[in-house]
Structure formats: structure tokens, C-alpha cells
Amino acid sequence: MSSTYYFAIVGTNDSPLYETELGVQRDESKYLNQFIVHAALDLVDDAQFMSTACYLKIVDRYNDWNVSAYVTPSNTRLMLLHEAKADDAIRLFFTDCHELYLKTLLNPFYEPNTLIQSQAFDTKVNVLAKKYLF
């Protein structure tokens, strides 16, 4: 199983609110990760109207990479770039990340649609990644 993931939370104005590379980090492909996930947003826009579920499964592919998406009711997109296909694990990962994001929104000092810079959030996402993805 591949051990490299790229996870991003994309706000309603298409800007990334949070992004992290899980597993082996490769600086040289960072822009490619962003490009792939950013391009997949077009397909998320189409796919979210085809399903009533938040989890849209794999919405896009590029070479060996797959992009899974999860759309919250407030239209925030949770995107995961991965190689291995593990539908259930990714769904659980997304669900827990959504809960984390909701807790962040409840923070009165966090303004929605702005960067999430909380170190605690980052730590928890990594814990969830270890729990579900690795």
C-alpha cells in the first residue's frame, strides 16, 4: 500500500483552508498535488448533485492517483489524493475530519472560510490518518 496522501480542505471560494501531506513528503510534487486536487474540484461540482451523500467516493483520476472527495453541507470540500483504493477507510477518515472541522467552526475565534492554523487540528488530522489510512 502506498503511504503517501495529500489531504486538503477547500473553502467555498476555492481556497485551501488546510492542507497537509500525510506519509512521505515530497517537495517536488507539491504543486502537482495541488493542481490535481484543484482540478478535481470541477468534477466535485458536478458529482455533488448526483448523490445525496456527503462522501462522493473517487471523483477524479490522474495517472495512478485518485482523488476522493467529501462535501459538507456548507459546501466545504474535503479532498484526499491517494493511490490505494480503500473506500471505507477513506470514508471514515473524511467523516472524522468533518467532525474536526465542525469543532473548529464552533471556535468563536475562527472565522469561517479562513486558514486553519491550529496546531491541535493538524495533530488530530495526523492521528486520524494513522488510524484509517496507514
Binding site: N13, D14, Y31, I36, A40, N75
Partner: protein, 1412 residues
């Protein structure tokens, strides 16, 4: 080179797979073609093979009729199977480059606007216009395809043999052509049981007029010889060359071939070639007719015949399951047949021999396809495909799959995706992966191109990206071409262009273009990416997030002015420095919130701009790269190195002023984001060597703290001023956002200078007016923040504003950092509210004034810790280092009760010895009367230099100011700081100076000021408490006890002296036994002292009623304030204070000394102000000083002087101000009575309410104070007892004193017998009476009725008898008093309940009776 105006997509496919006709011409014909500019006869006929209107009904392979509207044919001059070698990647690259070069400058496509992608244009415009080089490529690619063994499209279906009538033997020439090698090669390939069609044509050259006579005869012979497939063609009838009668006709004729060549062979440049010089329009018509005749009469019928024959021959193959079984049985059972039908080609692929059924099926399908019978052709392809697959003839299989897909898209448009898309995918993958022929990639590309064209025709763009991305990637340029088309396709998918997908594939295309060395197209793609992302970032938010939309709008409003102002300022700077740098970075660089994407785009565009020697643009891209702190360290280092390299390269380039060749030398400093210098953290420090804050402050001289300029009142823009020649330090906080270290060299500031009185600032004046220091090297490690100080020394008067910082990054790159901030947001007018307007920022600037004092002010020995009460000496030194005399120096202190100031003393003037705070004096009188001013002033401001002003008259007691301070002169001011209150305090000390010779400071004046602040911690040392007891000796006396407790754990103090100050009382110690030894207070010890407070002069009981008393002044002032709303103009008279000293040591302390006197007065004023502020909140602060005196007559101030025993020898004093003896003083209520005259007649309603509230509050306060006080005091004095029989009889004088000076009292005094005491216990009489009730009793009259005047004394006489000598408690009486009131307007609430009261003794009074 004209752009290719190619046919529609569907026609492109049909023309790509159209029938070929081999056109062979004799030498005479060749000559007739050459004179017209054609290389061959096929070129002559080529335009007339396009879209030939046949308009005939023909039969398909199954005999069903269908209408053939038009047909395309291509004329070829030769035929070779696999004549051309396989395409190599370099060939493809060169072809793509040629196609790109053939197009005009690769401008951005039409859908890319200045603000991003124009969605309407993206939807409406044709894809082919966005990348015309792709159109050229696909035409050239498909047009160059040669015949292959797996298909028959390229094999000529007919052979056109042409001979000229000018030849001696045309028939022989035709026979020779028929026997040529090319014909034989066609025959060997086309032998499928049918014969090849030969079409003979006799050409008459109009130039040969001699042959005109015999041409018909010759044609007859040709027809007789070769049959009906013959034709006569006459051309070159334009023999009148010199006449050139109709030039437009020449152009028209030439354009026929020109446009055809542009369409079929777009890369061949023929712009200058003129075709058909000898041809006329009649010849053109003849050529068109000849081709049409050939097609209609011969070629199409022949192809129909071929189809019919092949259909018959392959009938068994096509006959359903039976045929298939037969075919399968033959295939699996008869091995010989398989060997006969197939062979392995040179490329290792399995092919079918021409006579094999499979080859015939393919030929049948191809022929049907060429005659546009797609339905039948598809069915035949499908039959053949099965055989090809089973035989593993993958080349043939892939070809059949390709054609099946084409047929489906040509006639079965409604088919589902799974069919044609999977078929094409299978074809491409089979070509690419299963075949081994070198041409597999070429065929796969052809398949991809054809499929893509058909998808475009049917607008099935959703399949296009997948189809294009499946294409073989054996060449970078080809990959780029296909990725670019895929990107464009995403703009056409669905109802809304997928811009983000487009951006991604455009980026991939750019990478491939770059790899192929096509940097222009790579840059173009990246620009498209940048613009598309820009449009995404600017796209309005969804309608369901109104809040976010509003927020975004608001944010944009907030940010835009900042950027606008920054850009404007930067542009202005660029114009000023003449560097010509385009500062509009936002329009060039990528600015999305996807940091890595932005970095990549900017880096790539920067590199490409650098390669193109477009250094200005490259600089902007690299500068944008530098701002991202999230960039990984490796990339940061790389970017920085490349930026420096860019600068070095640009410096090496010769400068061209106009930049016509795209090379513009970069000379001026560029604005870079590293390191970051926050303008809001920049500090301008005047006189950096001195402590304290330098500023221009407004002094109000009313005790309030000097404040910063409000702007409006002073009219000054700047808040910082300095004089010429003075050093100004600018403190920059420099942060390196990168994780790699950088160095800054030659760091200095860019400033603008505006000379005083000169509106225009010029660059030359800046250099001459300012001397700006340079920091040689600043080393910044990764993510390090450091502070850099740059000094500015102005030379002339004017205004200086800091624009930015200049430095050399890594000693190479001249960089500029703007430090301009937007000013205050304007909100005054409607326009300002509707838009975002800021005032010019003045925070980073200062003014240079020529008449400003330049003082060096230092404060030495400021303490940080003090024991409470102890004194510490600090020193203020002021030196005039300027060139102008200073006429005014004023000091303000925040805690006047903490600070004692001595008169200033010029340096070098040692006449006056600096005495300590306390002046010892051996002969300190016990009681001294001193007259002191009684005006409550502000004691927080001191005039050190300047003429004494009445407003600051307090200085008369403390400071004798200097007249002026000349240049080079200096003076010192001793400052005594005392820990007045325990706790942490922040003392502020502000010294203002002014060169103006204004002797009298006004209420508001602006002075250059320096503010010092010191944190002082006052630790506890002694705690002094005072308590009051009534005296039994005299009703006007009180006993005042003072308890001194040493809170310190180590401090031992010697009490030196106690001093009471009062205007009415004198205090004498009850016992003088407290000598020097007993006046020691050790650690944690306490000591008590008791004093008797009595009126200094008993005869002056009417003191209060005098008009010059402080109390009467307050009453008058209050009455005037309440009833006439006028500020009292008079000041209280001086008061005679009685100093009651009690010295414990040999030498006392001179309290009359002016230094201590002023300090005590300052403390008193501070306390008095606080008391008034809390006691009379409804009276404004500014009225306190004019309505109330500094001292009250009955207040007592206590000062305890002490010195430390051992240790550093500290000395100090503790004080209690305003000790109240508990005697009622209700005089102030009298001020509430309206005056007899001078009252205001009319008041505003608000004023009325205010006054009523004030009256009520003062009356209530008096009532509350009186409640606990006794208006009358009774003392009993017993004379010596006389023995009278068994009894001792003594005369008793009972004194009743009235403390109230408002009311007289009528009272009844009852002397209570001890035996009767129980009757009065219930009324509150003495319950603590412990004396013997039977030992004594009153004699005679015991009830007296009398009256007592206000502040008067009434003495009554009585007698008592005692049965035995001893001590008895005689304090047994009851006083029933009733005030005698006069009518008054004072509110009823002010009439206390003590007007009618019953009083009993509050304490025992023991007397000795008889001799003991």
C-alpha cells in the same frame, strides 16, 4: 503563410479516407503542367477532386440504392506501400515546431481576457482557432499517411493515364504509362479478383496550335484503342500572355490551386507562386468537368463493381452464423489455408494476403466506406475484426476497430458511449501496445486525431480529454499538443467550462512544450493557467453564502485601498527613480491561494521570461516567488539563487532604451518581499542617545498629562519634530521569512524631503537636506528577526517622510522595500463613505524645525524601589545643545505627592549648596504661626526656565526658575522622590521646552517634550494611624492618638520629630516622657503617642464667622456657583497655620524651609483634590481650585519625621493629611442658601436640574456627616470638695459647648442621680456606669433650662455631695436640646435630626473627692 481554412471535422475524416487515383502523365503533359507552375498533372487536378458533386444514386454492397451527393478523390503520382519510414520523436517535434512556426505569433486565445477566462467566449468560440498549429499538424499528419498493408485506403482505385496531343505517338505514350512501375505496384496490391480501372486522357496543349487540327483525330484513335474510359482535355488556351487582359481572372485562377494547397498541404509555402498562367476560366471549367466526368462515368461505377464482386466473393464470410461457422471450421481445421492467407510482414506483424477472404473483406469495407456506405462498411469491418482478432493479426484488428468506431460516429450518432469510446480506446491501445510495427505510434496518433475530430463534430467533448490523453506519448511536443487540446476540451464540457481542469492540463501541456523546447507555447500555456486561476479567484461566491459574499466584499474593500495606495506609491517611486519597473505585479504574477501552484507558475514563467531576456517580467515573477514562506527550504534557496543569477544576467546585457528587441536592462532597485519589514513596527526615535520619548505635546497647564497633538487644535500634521543637525534614529524590525539565511548589505532608507515653504520635493534636495546612515551588513539567519537602526541627520528645516528601505540582497541585488502605510480612513463626505479614501500617512515622518529647542535632557538616579516615606534624590540635567536660547522649560509630574523639586541651578554655579530634603534646626519652637497661601492650585507642573506666571504661581514656593537657557548652557534640578504610597507605581516625568520668548504660558501650548517613565515599587516601612478621643477637661478639646507601627523586618528607625499643622488647633503631647531613647521603633515594633488638640486661641471662637476665613470663602464661592453660574474670581486669603512641633532628638527639622514646605503643600493639594473629587462629584474638577481653599481651618496635618538607624542612613517622613477631630462643621450647607442679590433670574432647564442635584447631594452629605456627630458637648468640672458634716460637698461647673455655628440651642440639662439611673437606662443612658450609686448625689437644683449660642459656651453651676472621700464617676446627666432655627431656603434634608436631640454622656468622668 495563410491560416489553414480547413474543412469541417466530418469532412476532414471523409477526405482523409477518400479514394486515391494514380495520375500518370507523359513528358508532353508534364511540360504543359510545368508552364502553369505545377509539378505534376496530379497537382493540376487536385483542386477539382474536392467535393465533386456526383448527384447519383448507386447501390450498396447488398444491392440497396442510396444517394451519393458528392465525393472526394485525391490524385497521386506514385504508390509505395510503407514508403515513408516511421515517425521518430524528433520528426514529430520538428513537425509540431514547423506547424507552430507556420502560425502567426502565438497570442493568447480569444477566451483569455484581461480579467481571466471569458466564459462566454470559451463556450462560443471554436477550438480550432485557439491552437491553429494543431489544425495544421493534424492535416499534415493525416495527409502524410502512406498506404499500409492492413488497409486499402491509400491504394489507388483507378489509374489516370494522360498523354499529350503534341506528342508524336500519344497512344504509345499511354501504353508506356500503363506499363510503368507505379502501375504495376498498384496492380500487385489490388488484385482481389477485380481489374483495375484505367482512364485515358488525351491532353491538348493550347500553345500547340498546329496540333489543334489533329487532336480530334488523335482522340478518336485513343478511344478506339482504349475504349470508353477515355477523355479529351484542352488546356493552356491563354495564349495572349503579353496582353494580360484580365489580371483579376489570373488571381482568381491562381487562388483555386493556392487555397487547395493551403488546405491539403498547409506547410508548403507557395505564397509567391502563381498558378495557371496559361489557363483560362474555360480551361478550369474543362478540368472540373473532366474530373467529374471521370468520377461519375468511370471511377464510381468501377468502385461499385468492385464492391459487388467483393461482396459476392465474401458472401459466405458475411452470412451470419453459418458463414462464421464455416469460416471458423476452415480456419481451425484447414491449417494450409491459414498459411496461405496470412504472412508475417517485415515488421513482424501478421497480415493477410490480397486474395484471402479477410483481405477482401477489408477491401470491401474500405471501398464501401469510400463511397460513404458507412452502415455496410461497419458491418463488414465487424466481421473482419473477429477474424483479425482470432488470428491475432493485431495491426489489422486495430485498423478494423478504428474504422468501426469511425463508422459508428459517422452514421450511428445515437450510440452509447460504451460502444465507440471503448472501440477507439481498444484501437489505440492495440496499436500502441500489441503491435510491434514501427508505425504503430503514427497510426495510433491518426486514430486519436480522427476520433477527436469526430467528437468535436458531434460535440461529444466529454470524451475528448480521455481520448486525447490516451494518445501515444512518444514525443514531448505531441504530448503537449494533445494535452493542450484536452485542456481546451474541458472548456467545452458541460454547460459550464471546467476552468480548473483546463488549468491543470494546460499546465501539463506547458511542461511538455518546455520539454520539447517550444518555450513560446509553454509560456503561452502557463499564461493561460495563470489567467484561468485568476478568474477562479475573482469568481463571485455562490448565492447560498451571502454572508461570505459580504465578508469577501468587505475584505476586498479593506484590502484594495492598501494595495492601491501601495501600488500608487510604488509607481510614484518608480517614476521618481526612473527605473522603469512595472510595479503592477498583480497583473502579471499568479496570485491564488494555492501557494504551491502559484510558486510553480511564477517560477516557470520567470524562467521562461529569463530565457527570453525579458528581465523585467522575470523579475516580477521571481519577486512573487520570494514572498511565500511555506516554500520548502530547497526551493527557497533555489529561487533565491536564480533571482540573483537573473540580476547578474540582466546586468550583463546591454541596455536598450526602447526595449524594441525585448531586452530591457534592469537598473533601479526592485521591490522584494524578503526580508519582511513591517511598516507598523517602524519606530522613529528622536535623540536616540537619550532616554525617554521625544514628541510634540500639548500642555494644558491644568494638571492633566501633556497629550499628543490632536491635529485639529494645533494644525500640525506631524507629531514628531526635531531641529536641524539633530540625530533621528529609525528602528526597523527586519524578519527573514525564509528558512535559509540571507545577508543585507548597504541598508539605508529612502526618504522624501519637503523643504519648509517649498511645496515641491526634488531628489537633489533630499541628498543635500538629509544625511542618512548606511548599515554595512545585516546577517539574517533563517526565520530570524533582528532590529536595525538607521540614523537620519536633517540639515535643513522641512518635512521628512520615510518611503522605504534600500539594500543589497546578498550583496548583489539592489532591493527596495516600501514602508508606506495608508492613513486614517476618511468618513466625512458621502463620496468618502461610498468609496475607500485614506488620508496621507504621517506616522513614518517627522518635521525639521529651525526654531525648535534642542535640549539634552537626562534624568539620573531614578529609583526603582523605595521604602514608603523615605526620600531619594534624583537629578534632572538639561543642557541646551542647540544654537538658539531656550526661554521656557516646564516639567510635569504624574505623582506630585511623590516628587519634590528644588530650584534649577546652572552648571558651574556652585554658590548654593545643595542641602538635603530636611534641614536640621537645633531650635525648633514648639508652636509657630506661619502665614501660607491658601490657594488650591495644580502642583504637578513646574516652571524651570521662564518667567514666573500666575497660572503656575505655586513655583513661588518651590522653584525659582531661570530666565533663559542659552546655547551651551546646562542646569540641573535636584528632584526628591518619596515613596508616598505603598505599591507599584509608574511615575511619569515630562519636560517640555519652547524657544519662543512667550513669558506667560497660555492655557494650551505646544512644546517639544520628553517623557520619562519609571516603574517605582514602594515597600512598606512604617504604618501610622491616628485616632481621636473626646476630652473631659474641655468640651473644645480632643485627644489625638498616633500609633506608629514598624512593618519592616529589619528596619530600625529613630523618630525625629512630629509636626502638626492646623489653622485652629495646637497640639501638645499629653506626656513629655517620650525622649530620644524611647522614640526608637525596632522591627515589628509599635509605639503610641497621644496629643491634646485644643484651640490655639480660645478667645477666637468667632474665627469661622470672619469673612476672610477659608470656610466663608468656600461658602461664598459655592453660593455663587450654584445661583449665578459664575466662576468665582477671588482667591482665598492666606491662612495662618500653627505648626506644633515635638522634637525627640537634639535637632529638629525646619518645616518652614521652602523645600519641605512646598512638598507638604503639594501633598496637601493632592489629597485635597482627591477628597473634593470624591466628595463633590457634581462639581467639575476645574472649579475645585477656585471654590475651595487649600487648607481648612479645622483640619490637622500630621507629619512624622524619622531616620534610619544603621544601614544607608535613609531618612523620610510619614504624614496624615486632614485629620478630622470629629467636631461637626456644617458650614458648607449655608452655601446652599440663595443670596440676597446677584442670583441668576433665568436658568435653562438642564442647568436647573444640575443645580438641584448638586444642592441635594451637598445637603445629603452634610446630613450624613452630622448623623454621627454630637452638636453639643458637655463637660463637668468639680472643684475641691469641702467637708460639710458627714458629707463632702463640691461645687460643680457644667459647661455646655455648641459646636454648630449655624444654630443656637435651647436645652434642658438634667443631672441624674445615681440612684435614678435605672429609670433612664431604657432611653440610652449610661449602661456602663460602674461607680457606687450610693456614694454620692447631686445637691440642689438638678434641672437647668438654658440656651447656647452658635459656637458658644454656657456654664451652669451645681453641687454634689459625697458620703466618703474617693473617686466617683460624675458623668450622669441628660441633655435635651432643640435648635432655634431661622427661616431658611436650605432643603429640609439638610436639617439634621440633631436639631432636636437627647444626649447622654458618652464616657465616664472620674473625679477625686476629698483627700486621698
Amino acid at each position: 503563410m495563410p491560416r489553414a481554412s480547413l474543412a469541417q471535422k466530418k469532412d476532414f475524416v471523409t477526405k482523409a479516407f477518400c479514394p486515391r487515383i494514380l495520375a500518370l502523365a507523359s513528358a508532353g503533359v508534364q511540360d504543359a503542367c510545368t508552364v502553369n507552375g505545377f509539378d505534376s498533372f496530379a497537382d493540376l487536378l487536385s483542386p477539382f477532386g474536392q467535393d465533386v458533386l456526383t448527384q447519383i444514386t448507386i447501390q450498396d454492397g447488398q444491392g440497396a440504392p442510396y444517394f451519393l451527393d458528392k465525393i472526394n478523390v485525391r490524385f497521386t503520382t506514385d504508390f509505395v506501400i510503407e514508403k515513408s519510414p516511421a515517425h521518430s520523436s524528433s520528426d514529430v517535434d520538428s513537425l509540431v515546431k514547423t506547424c507552430a512556426a507556420a502560425c502567426i505569433e502565438p497570442a493568447d486565445p480569444s477566451f483569455v481576457g484581461s480579467d481571466g477566462v471569458v466564459l462566454d467566449a470559451a463556450i462560443a468560440d471554436d477550438i480550432s482557432t485557439w491552437a491553429p498549429w494543431y489544425t495544421l499538424f493534424r492535416q499534415q499528419w493525416v495527409g502524410d499517411m502512406q498506404a499500409s498493408e492492413h488497409e486499402t485506403f491509400m491504394i489507388p482505385v483507378a489509374c489516370l493515364l494522360v498523354a499529350s496531343g503534341s506528342e508524336a505517338d500519344p497512344i504509345g505514350a499511354l501504353r508506356a504509362l500503363q506499363a510503368s512501375a507505379a502501375v504495376q505496384r498498384v496492380l500487385t496490391c489490388g488484385d482481389g479478383g477485380t481489374k483495375m480501372l484505367f482512364y485515358y486522357m488525351l491532353l491538348h496543349d493550347g500553345r500547340d496550335t498546329a496540333a489543334l487540327q489533329t487532336i480530334d483525330l488523335q482522340f478518336d484513335q485513343v478511344r478506339k484503342t482504349f475504349g470508353q474510359n477515355s477523355a479529351l482535355l484542352k488546356i493552356n488556351t491563354n495564349t495572349d500572355l503579353l496582353g494580360a487582359a484580365d489580371a483579376s481572372e489570373r488571381v482568381k485562377i491562381s487562388s483555386i490551386w493556392g487555397s487547395d494547397i493551403a488546405a491539403t498541404r498547409p506547410l508548403v509555402a507557395h505564397t509567391d507562386t502563381s498558378y495557371g498562367e496559361m489557363l483560362t476560366m474555360r480551361d478550369v471549367a474543362a478540368l472540373r468537368d473532366a474530373v467529374k466526368l471521370m468520377l461519375v462515368r468511370s471511377v464510381v461505377p468501377h468502385m461499385q463493381y468492385v464492391i459487388r464482386v467483393l461482396s459476392d466473393q465474401t458472401a459466405s464470410e458475411r452470412r451470419g452464423i453459418t458463414g462464421r461457422l464455416f469460416s471458423a471450421g476452415r480456419r481451425y481445421l484447414n491449417t494450409s489455408s491459414k498459411a496461405e492467407n496470412t504472412y508475417v510482414g517485415a515488421d513482424g506483424e501478421v497480415y493477410y494476403r490480397h486474395k484471402s477472404p479477410e483481405a477482401m473483406l477489408r477491401r470491401l469495407a474500405d471501398s464501401s466506406f469510400m463511397l460513404k456506405d458507412y452502415r455496410f462498411a461497419q458491418s463488414v469491418y465487424q466481421i473482419a475484426r473477429r477474424d483479425f482478432q482470432s488470428e491475432k493479426a493485431w495491426m489489422c484488428y486495430a485498423g478494423a476497430q478504428e474504422m468501426i468506431g469511425v463508422c459508428k460516429l459517422l452514421w450511428e450518432v445515437q450510440t452509447t458511449k460504451a460502444e465507440f469510446d471503448s472501440i477507439f480506446e481498444d484501437a489505440v491501445l492495440t496499436y500502441t501496445h500489441k503491435t510491434r510495427t514501427p508505425r504503430r505510434y503514427s497510426l495510433a496518433v491518426r486514430c486519436t486525431v480522427v476520433y477527436y475530430e469526430l467528437l468535436k463534430h458531434h460535440r461529444f467533448y466529454v470524451f475528448a480529454p480521455g481520448a486525447l490523453l490516451r494518445g501515444p506519448a512518444f514525443s514531448a511536443s505531441l504530448t503537449a499538443l494533445l494535452n493542450e487540446q484536452a485542456a481546451y476540451s474541458y472548456l467545452k464540457v458541460g454547460s459550464r467550462p471546467n476552468v480548473r481542469k483546463f488549468a491543470f492540463y494546460a499546465m501539463l501541456a506547458s511542461q511538455s512544450y518546455q520539454k520539447a523546447g517550444m518555450s513560446d507555447l509553454a509560456s503561452r500555456c502557463l499564461r493561460m493557467v495563470r489567467m484561468s486561476l485568476k478568474s477562479r479567484s475573482q469568481e463571485p461566491l455562490r448565492a447560498d453564502s451571502d454572508d461570505e459574499k459580504d465578508h469577501g466584499k468587505l475584505t476586498a474593500e479593506i484590502k484594495s485601498p492598501t494595495r492601491a495606495s501601495m501600488d500608487e506609491k510604488a509607481a510614484a517611486l518608480g517614476a521618481a527613480t526612473g527605473d522603469g519597473v512595472n510595479m503592477d505585479k498583480a497583473s502579471v504574477t499568479a496570485k491564488t491561494k494555492w501557494a504551491a501552484i502559484d510558486s510553480y507558475i511564477n517560477h516557470e514563467l520567470g524562467r521562461q521570461s529569463m530565457a527570453a531576456h525579458n528581465f523585467d517580467e522575470a523579475f516580477q515573477y521571481f519577486m512573487a516567488l520570494m514572498g511565500d514562506e511555506k516554500t520548502p527550504p530547497k526551493l527557497q534557496s533555489k529561487y533565491l539563487q536564480e533571482l540573483l543569477q537573473l540580476f547578474l544576467e540582466s546586468s550583463d546585457q546591454p541596455a536598450t532604451g526602447d526595449g524594441s528587441n525585448g531586452v530591457v536592462k534592469h537598473t533601479g532597485p526592485i521591490e522584494l518581499s524578503i526580508p519582511s519589514i513591517d511598516p507598523q513596527l517602524v519606530r522613529i526615535i528622536m535623540s536616540p542617545k537619550l532616554e525617554g520619548e521625544d514628541a510634540m505635546l500639548e500642555w494644558r497647564l491644568d494638571g492633566s498629562s501633556p497629550s499628543k497633538l490632536s491635529g485639529g487644535s494645533s494644525g500640525l500634521q506631524q507629531t514628531r519634530f526635531c531641529s536641524a543637525g539633530e540625530v533621528v534614529a529609525v528602528l526597523l524590525v527586519v524578519t527573514n521569512p525564509l528558512v535559509i539565511g540571507v545577508t543585507l548589505n548597504n541598508l539605508t532608507l529612502e526618504c522624501a524631503f519637503e523643504a519648509a515653504g517649498d511645496s515641491a520635493a526634488t531628489g537633489a534636495s533630499v541628498d543635500s537636506a538629509l544625511d542618512i546612515s548606511t548599515v554595512t551588513t545585516v546577517i539574517l539567519e533563517g526565520e530570524q528577526t533582528t532590529m536595525v537602526t538607521v540614523q537620519i541627520t536633517p540639515r535643513r528645516a522641512g518635512s521628512v517622510s520615510i518611503l522605504g528601505a534600500k539594500y543589497l540582497l546578498c550583496d548583489i541585488l539592489p532591493t527596495f522595500k516600501s514602508l508606506v502605510l495608508p492613513g486614517r480612513r476618511m468618513n466625512d463626505t458621502k463620496e468618502q463613505r461610498m468609496s475607500v479614501v485614506h488620508t496621507p500617512d504621517t506616522t513614518l515622518g517627522f518635521s525639521v524645525s529651525s526654531d525648535l529647542p534642542r535640549l539634552e535632557i537626562t534624568v539620573d538616579d531614578l529609583p526603582d524601589t523605595l521604602m514608603s516615606g523615605s526620600m531619594h534624590r534624583a537629578c534632572l540635567r538639561v543642557a541646551n545643545s542647540g544654537e538658539l536660547p531656550c526661554h521656557s522649560v516646564t516639567m510635569w509630574v504624574s505623582h506630585p505627592s511623590f516628587v519634590g523639586v528644588r530650584p534649577p541651578r546652572l552648571c558651574g554655579d556652585e554658590d548654593e549648596e545643595d542641602t538635603g530634603m530636611y534641614v536640621s534646626w537645633p531650635d525648633v519652637a514648639k508652636h509657630e504661626r506661619i502665614q501660607v497661601p491658601n490657594v488650591l492650585r495644580d502642583y504637578s507642573t513646574f516652571v524651570l526656565v521662564g518667567q514666573q506666571a500666575d497660572a503656575l504661581g505655586s513655583s513661588a514656593h518651590c522653584v525659582e526658575p531661570l530666565i533663559s537657557l542659552g546655547p551651551g548652557e546646562a542646569f540641573t534640578v535636584p528632584i526628591w522622590i518619596r515613596g508616598d504610597r505603598v505599591g507599584a507605581h509608574t511615575l511619569s516625568l515630562c519636560i517640555g521646552a519652547n524657544s519662543a520668548a512667550a513669558a506667560v504660558p497660555k492655557d494650551l501650548t505646544v512644546m517639544r517634550s520628553r517623557r520619562f517613565e519609571v516603574d517605582l515599587l514602594v515597600t512598606p516601612s512604617l504604618r501610622v494611624n491616628a485616632f481621636v478621643r473626646p476630652s473631659t477637661r474641655n468640651p473644645r478639646e480632643r485627644l489625638l492618638g498616633v500609633e506608629v507601627e514598624n512593618m519592616h523586618a529589619e528596619l530600625s528607625v529613630q523618630l525625629v520629630q512630629t509636626t502638626f499643622t492646623s489653622g485652629f488647633y495646637e497640639l501638645v503631647p499629653v506626656s513629655n516622657s517620650l525622649g530620644p531613647r524611647k522614640a526608637l521603633v525596632g522591627p515589628r515594633q509599635s509605639i503610641s503617642m497621644v496629643y491634646r488638640a485644643r484651640p490655639h486661641d480660645m478667645t477666637q471662637s468667632d474665627r469661622l464667622l470672619r469673612s476672610d476665613s477659608p470656610e466663608m470663602f468656600a461658602v461664598r464661592a459655592l453660593r455663587q456657583f450654584i445661583y449665578s453660574s459664575e466662576k468665582p474670581a477671588s482667591t482665598p486669603e492666606a491662612i495662618d497655620l500653627i505648626y506644633s512641633n515635638n522634637v525627640f532628638t537634639d535637632e529638629g527639622i525646619d518645616c518652614k524651609h521652602h523645600s519641605l514646605q512646598s512638598y507638604i503643600m503639594r501633598s496637601q493639594a493632592h489629597r485635597r483634590r482627591n477628597t473634593l473629587r470624591s466628595g463633590y462629584p457634581l462639581i467639575p474638577d476645574k472649579y475645585h481650585s477656585v471654590m475651595f481653599p487649600l487648607f481648612e481651618s479645622f483640619g490637622i496635618d500630621f507629619v512624622l519625621f524619622w531616620s534610619q538607624i544603621g544601614g544607608p542612613g535613609r531618612a523620610g517622613h510619614h504624614s496624615i493629611s486632614g485629620i478630622d477631630l470629629g467636631v461637626p462643621h456644617d458650614y458648607l450647607v449655608e452655601g446652599l442658601n440663595p443670596p440676597t442679590e446677584g442670583a441668576a433670574r433665568t436658568w435653562l432647564s438642564d442647568t436647573m436640574h444640575d443645580r438641584e442635584a448638586l444642592i441635594h447631594s451637598i445637603a445629603s452629605r452634610s446630613e450624613a456627616a452630622l448623623r454621627s456627630e454630637r452638636p453639643l458637648d458637655v463637660t463637668i468640672r468639680v472643684d475641691a470638695a469641702q467637708k460639710s458634716g458627714p458629707l463632702y460637698v463640691a461645687d460643680v461647673a457644667v459647661s455646655v459647648f455648641n459646636h454648630s455655628w449655624r444654630y443656637g440651642y435651647q436645652f434642658t440639662l438634667d443631672l441624674l442621680s445615681p440612684n435614678e439611673l435605672d429609670e433612664f437606662l431604657a432611653e440610652g443612658a449610661r449602661m456602663d456606669y460602674s461607680g457606687s450609686r450610693a456614694a454620692w448625689s447631686w445637691l440642689g437644683e438638678t434641672s437647668y433650662s438654658a440656651s447656647v449660642e452658635p459656637h458658644g459656651l454656657t456654664v451652669l453651676h451645681a453641687r454634689l455631695s459625697c458620703y466618703a472621700p474617693g473617686t466617683i464617676d460624675v458623668a450622669l446627666w441628660r441633655l435635651q436640646a432643640s435648635a432655634s432655627m431661622e427661616p431658611t431656603a436650605v432643603p429640609a434634608v439638610a436639617n439634621s435630626r440633631n436639631l432636636d436631640c437627647v444626649l447622654y454622656p458618652a464616657q465616664p468622668h472620674f473625679v477625686h473627692v476629698g483627700a486621698i
